[in-house]
Symmetry: C2
Subunit: 85 residues, 2 copies
């Protein structure tokens, strides 16, 4: 069954306290050289049938209305997953 | 500054109530043909300097210890972001 991956991230101008907490914890655990972390969401949607342009547009529209909050989040990408996983 | 993307998903055998809720809401909003949704996390890490194999291995190790809970989650991918965003 084809799988579509949707990535949602906070808009760049929105503060990301979760990401900041992770960035602060990294050096304490011995991981240096990472200056900033932002945390977002990743959805895997299993789609019935085949995924064509129209289906992908529908998923994008779902992503923009249901999977993300358009006030504070951007849908970064909507793409078909390679058949590896 | 190079950016590394880390994707973390719940292991397949772990129930995902958040994803289930999304999958249930999609038909109510008029989006049909999506049989299953799983929700995970996506991290964007800004790395100082250049990203070589060693750095990527270090980020993967950080992803497996800090960004994910290895009991219930898998690090699905660790990759360098294309310079588009």
């Amino acid at each position: 069954m084809p799988r579509v991956i949707v990535d949602v991230m906070l808009k760049p101008e929105i503060l990301d306290p979760q990401g900041k907490a992770v960035a602060g914890a990294l050096p304490r655990l011995g991981f240096d050289g990472i200056s900033s972390v932002r945390q977002g969401k990743r959805f895997e949607l299993e789609v019935d049938g085949t995924v064509d342009e129209a289906k992908l547009a529908e998923v994008r529209s779902a992503a923009e209305t249901l999977l993300s909050n358009p006030v504070i989040e951007d849908v970064v990408s909507v793409r078909v997953a390679e058949e590896t996983a």
